[in-house]
Structures are given as C-alpha cells and as structure tokens.
C-alpha cells in the first residue's frame, strides 16, 4: 500500500530523518529547512514564548487549562465537533471513494472533478450558501414543509448541527483523496480471488477491501481531524454565535480581549496536539508497512 504517499498527503511539515546515513542528501534540503525554520518554526517558538511570559513569566496560562471553564469549553467543543465532523466526513468520503474507485476510468474522471470542484469555492461562500439553504425560510425547511414532512421549521443552522454540516461539506474532498489513493492501490484480482474462494460480496468487502483500504482511512481521518481543529470561518458563520471553537477563541483573546498569553497558550496546545496526532499516526503507518500490508 502507499503508506509513503499517504504520509505526504497528511501534510507532515518536516519529515524527521531516522538516520543520517545519507548526510549528503540531507544537505540538499538544508536551504528549505532553513527557510522553514525562519518563516514557520521561529514564529511558533515566539508564540510558545508569549504563552509562558504573558502576563507574568511562568506556567500560569497553562494552569488555566485546568481551572478556566472558558478555555476548557473551547477545547471540548473543538474536539467534539472535530470528532463528529471527522466521523461523518470519513463515512461519506469512504462511500464516495469506494464508488469512484470502482467506477470506469471515464466515469472516474467526472467523479473526481465533482469531488474537487468544491475545493475551489471559497469557504466563506460555501458557509453563506449553507445559511441560505438551512435557515428557517431556507430551501431545505421549505421543501420539507411543502412536502408535509414537518410542520415547523427545523433548527438546522446557527447551532452545532449547522457547523458540522458546513465542516463536513468542506472536509469530504480531503477525506476522499487519501482513501481513493489507497483504494486504487488494491489489486482487483484480490477481490475476485476472495469471491472465488467462496466469500460473498459483503465478506469480500469486510475481510479484504476494507482492511486494505484502512491505511487510507487512517490517513484521511488524521488529515480531516487536524483540519477540523483549526476551523475558523465556518463555525463563526454557521454557529449562530453560540459555539466557539479553538481558532476563534484564540483570535478573540489576541485581537479583541488582548490576552495574548491565553491566546498563545491555546495556540501552543493546538500545535502540540496536532504534532502528537501526527507522531502517533506515523507510528501506526510504519507498523503497517512493517507487517507488509503494502508490498
């Protein structure tokens, strides 16, 4: 399987060299490494510094992780929405990737286009489009009411449901691509072989196709989850002001309330959470390779 491809897709910022046998090759990436350090690592370190020096030097801001209900709520909300979004995006993305992977080459091109086109539409436009669709007088509620399915409009937007709908819509293409890549690697003969050996279509999926597409599923999951943690515009527009996710909370601390220390603290926590997720994930993928899931 394409575990190497998958890790790249998961946008690992800088691969950590496992050994220095090829020092010459690493010298080649030195300029890129320095550039990354200057424009990427240095600001992150600065943020880290602010989080332990504002307003006083020490870990006071981090202590508030344990004591401040506001920051805790922002984190819990972010994780909850992130997990729900990831789960739904993976489910939809998996079905979509499955359909695309099994389609004819010509149909595949159209499917892919359909999957990718939303990526070119601004997240802002999409969020407003969802508002238009989901609000009380929106197309969805009107349609359901005209069809006599519901009597009163459903609260589909300006709450967490609205946020999840908007985020899932944004994340599905990101979920599809790594999964599609891994599904395309699956030798169709394996599926035929499994059926020839007596397995029903469902068993073939469960015992052969699904396990072989699992690395792609994991890569998609990590990608979507990490993206979800940083969502900013979609929750702001679709949340009705009542749901505050980490990114917006940080922005508020820094720009409006001017509590830089707190904002920097949560930003640091977010970065650490993302790096940890990636580290755990890369272990999992390497194990897969070790077991020979991919040849």
């Amino acid at each position: 399987m394409s575990s190497a491809v998958l890790t790249t897709r998961a946008a690992v910022p800088a691969p950590v060299p496992r050994h220095f046998a090829n020092a010459g090759w690493y010298a080649l990436i030195l300029p890129a490494f320095l550039l990354m350090t200057a424009i990427y690592v240095a600001p992150i370190l600065q943020v880290l510094a602010i989080s332990v020096t504002e307003p006083t030097t020490g870990l006071d801001n981090y202590e508030r992780l344990l004591t401040n209900a506001g920051v805790q709520r922002a984190i819990v909300t972010t994780l909850r929405i992130g997990l729900i979004t990831t789960a739904i995006a993976l489910l939809l993305g998996y079905v979509l990737a499955y359909v695309v992977a099994l389609a004819s080459p010509a149909a595949q091109r159209w499917w892919l286009l359909a999957v990718l086109v939303p990526l070119w539409i601004s997240v802002l436009v999409r969020a407003f489009a969802w508002v238009t669709l989901l609000r009380r007088q929106g197309l969805v509620n009107q349609g359901l009411m005209n069809a006599g399915i519901i009597d009163a409009p459903l609260a589909l937007v300006w709450n967490e449901l609205g946020i999840v709908i908007g985020m899932v819509h944004y994340m599905v293409p990101y979920a599809v691509l790594p999964m599609l890549a891994s599904m395309r690697e699956i030798d169709p003969r394996l599926l035929a072989a499994a059926r020839g050996l007596g397995a029903s279509r469902f068993t073939v999926f469960r015992r052969v196709f699904f396990p072989l597409s699992a690395p792609g599923l994991a890569a998609s999951g990590v990608l979507v989850f990490i993206f979800s943690l940083g969502f900013y515009i979609t929750p702001a527009i679709l949340g009705g002001g009542r749901t505050l996710m980490a990114a917006e909370w940080i922005k508020m601390q820094i720009l409006d309330i001017v509590r830089w220390g707190m904002g920097a603290m949560l930003a640091t926590v977010l970065v650490i959470a993302i790096l940890t997720t990636l580290a755990v994930f890369s272990r999992v993928v390497n194990l897969k390779r070790l077991f020979g899931a991919g040849a």
Binding site: L124, G241, R242, L244, L255, D256, I257, V258, R259
Partner: protein
C-alpha cells in the same frame, strides 16, 4: 479574512454604504458631489502640496468605503488647513491586538486609529496609547462627555437599538423589558456576540439602572433568553436575520435598523428608546510617527460639523459636534442618533466601566453563551 470575525461598528458602516451604493440608493455622482463640496477630492489636495514633500498622517480604518468617507470628511478638510501635510487612509483594521503588536514592536506606522471606548481604555491602561491633549482638542466640540475620553475622542456616534418585525409582533415592543418578555413577544431574538450593550439591555430590562452593571445578574438575565437567542457577529448578518424573518426582535446597530425600516415598507421598525449610544472613538498609538499633529487632526475632526453631517448621509454615523444636529436635513433626522429628540431616549455607554472590565466580563460573557 475578516468577514467572519466579530465585526465592529466602523466596519459595518462601510459595508452598509457599499450595499446602499450597490442597490443604487446612493449614486456615485451624489457621493462625489457631496465630497467635492466638503473639501475637494483627494487627488486635488495631494497635488496642491506637490511643491514641497508633504508630511503624512496615517489614519487607520476598517476598509471599504471608509477609505473614501474618512478621507474626504476627516482627512481633506484638515489637509486644506495645514499645507505641507496630507492624510492617508490605511484600511488594515486597527484591532486592539494589532495596535498592541505594532506599539510593542517599536515600529509604529499609524497615527489615528478607529477604535472604541473600551479599546481606548484598554490601550491606555497598557500604556499603548497617547492621552488626548485637550489643550489641542476642544472638549466643547462634543455634545456629551462620553465622546471625549482620556485616551480617545469620538468624531461620530452610533447606537445599539431595539429593532422588531411588526408583522410578527402586533403590539410593538417599547424597550428591553419587552425584549425579555417571551410570553407577550415569542420568537427568536438577536444580540451581538459581545458583552457590551447586551448586558446594559439586560440591566435595563430588569428595571435597574444600566450602570454599574451587575455582571452576575445581567449574565443570568441573558441566560434566560438563551434558547431564543441567535448571536450575530457582523452587521449584514443582523440585517439579514431580520429581513428574512428568522428573528422577531434584535438589538442591532442603528445604521442597519435604519436601512431595514426604510426598505421593508414599515414591516421592520426600530425604536430609539433605551438604545445604547456609543462613541466612535479614535485613538493615537503611543509613539505615532506624526506626533502631535495627530492631536490636531483629531481636533479638526471634532470641530467641523458639516463633514460629520456628510458622513451621516454616506455611512449613517451620527455627528458628535453640538452644531451638527441643526444642519441635518429633515429626512435624515429620524436616523440620527444624536438628534436631540433621539438622544434623549437613549442611554450613553460608560466607556470607563467597560475599559476597566471588558476583558474579564466579555470573556465570561462568551463563556456563558457558548458551549
């Protein structure tokens, strides 16, 4: 991308004027004529000083038409009186955090920033803003003390008013007590996702004076409405929510309420009663490049009633100069927050109280309404 952030009033004015212009209610020609009468176009001013190298004052706004409005109604009249100086507009959006970042980095490029009462107090407290020099800026040029603060002064005003949908509410609400009365006025309400003005409304609804705000009681009061509240973060959102009938009532900026009243054929109305009158405070970042000239510019902005009336016509911002109200054309008086008839009914915001308490109270407010 700023559209999604919680929007400040200044940003919204600009957006509103653009929307009006786009709808054809404000013709480009009208706009230009008004601007020409009030001090000439920016280009002409710039070329008049072409012989010497003019020194610059940088005024920072929230983008869009504010560039033009502030340039023509604030910048140009000042430049006309001060040869060798010109005023340039920067639309980066002077968020409190951005001003802090600039001052702390020691490379201040801004002279005058469109901030707020609480922003002025906050920046002053952090020693990031310069005190207004009231020997240069004349306190007598504003109608009330709320427009002349220690760390900033307001050449314009705005108000957070109660706006309602008369097709949904046969009995018109008369104040914040009705806003909280779910039995008589059922339906969704709007508040800005900000403690400022929300808590004042809560206090008044309980029949108590707005200040000092009893934070716990006011917060609890907001909590009573929680199931029926949608919080808006930018002006067009609030207008949209009213216009489409999502909400029956809302606390919205008077500029948006004015548009709704004018355009809905009387379906949507607003009342000045118990509106929260607020100053559009400009602050001078500490170490600004123009030095004391920024004080003079601020003084000039406060001193001239005609441009302030011009701005009312363009962006809807209320004048703060005592002589301005009389100059407002009759058809605009209904929409002028500082018209004596309107001002009387409103409650002026206490910028000092908010300056002292904004950080903590707003954080608590956000915590209370989210999650």
């Amino acid at each position: 991308m700023r559209d999604d952030e919680i929007q400040s009033f200044h940003q919204d004015c600009v957006e509103l004027a653009q929307e009006k212009h786009a709808r054809g209610q404000l013709s480009r020609r009208q706009l230009m004529q008004a601007m020409a009468a009030l001090g000439g176009a920016g280009l002409a001013t710039a070329s008049a000083h072409a012989q010497g190298t003019p020194r610059e004052l940088v005024m920072v706004n929230w983008g869009g038409l504010a560039n033009q409005g502030f340039g023509n109604f604030y910048g140009d009249p000042f430049a006309a009186e001060n040869p060798g100086w010109r005023v340039v507009q920067d639309s980066s959006g002077p968020a409190t955090g951005r001003i802090r970042s600039m001052v702390e980095s020691g490379r201040v490029a801004w002279d005058l920033c469109d901030s707020s009462a609480s922003g002025a107090k906050l920046l002053g407290g952090l020693n990031l803003a310069t005190k207004v020099d009231y020997s240069i800026v004349d306190r007598a040029n504003v109608i009330a003390p709320v427009f002349a603060l220690e760390y900033g002064a307001a050449p314009y005003s705005f108000s957070s008013v109660l706006c309602y949908d008369s097709s949904k509410l046969p009995t018109p609400p008369t104040g914040w007590a009705d806003f909280w009365n779910l039995q008589r006025f059922p339906g969704t309400r709007l508040l800005r996702r900000d403690a400022v003005c929300s808590l004042e409304a809560a206090m008044i609804s309980m029949g108590r004076p707005a200040y000092p705000i009893d934070v716990r009681a006011a917060m609890r009061r907001v909590g009573e409405l929680r199931r029926n509240l949608v919080f808006w973060t930018n002006g067009s959102e609030s207008e949209q929510l009213m216009r489409t009938g999502e909400a029956v009532m809302g606390q919205v900026w008077h500029t948006r309420a004015s548009v709704l009243e004018r355009e809905s054929n009387g379906r949507i109305k607003f009342i000045w009663n118990q509106g929260i009158l607020q100053p559009g405070i400009f602050v001078i970042p500490r170490g600004n490049p123009g030095g004391v000239m920024a004080q003079r510019l601020l003084g000039s902005m406060l001193a001239k009633p005609e441009p302030q009336v011009g701005l009312l016509g363009l962006l809807g911002n209320g004048p703060t100069n005592p002589r301005a109200a009389a100059l407002v054309p009759a058809e605009l008086k209904r929409f002028n927050p500082t018209d004596p008839a309107n001002e009387r009914q409103q409650v002026a915001i206490d910028g000092n109280w908010w300056g002292d308490n904004y950080q903590q109270v707003n954080a608590d407010f956000i915590d209370a309404i989210t999650g």
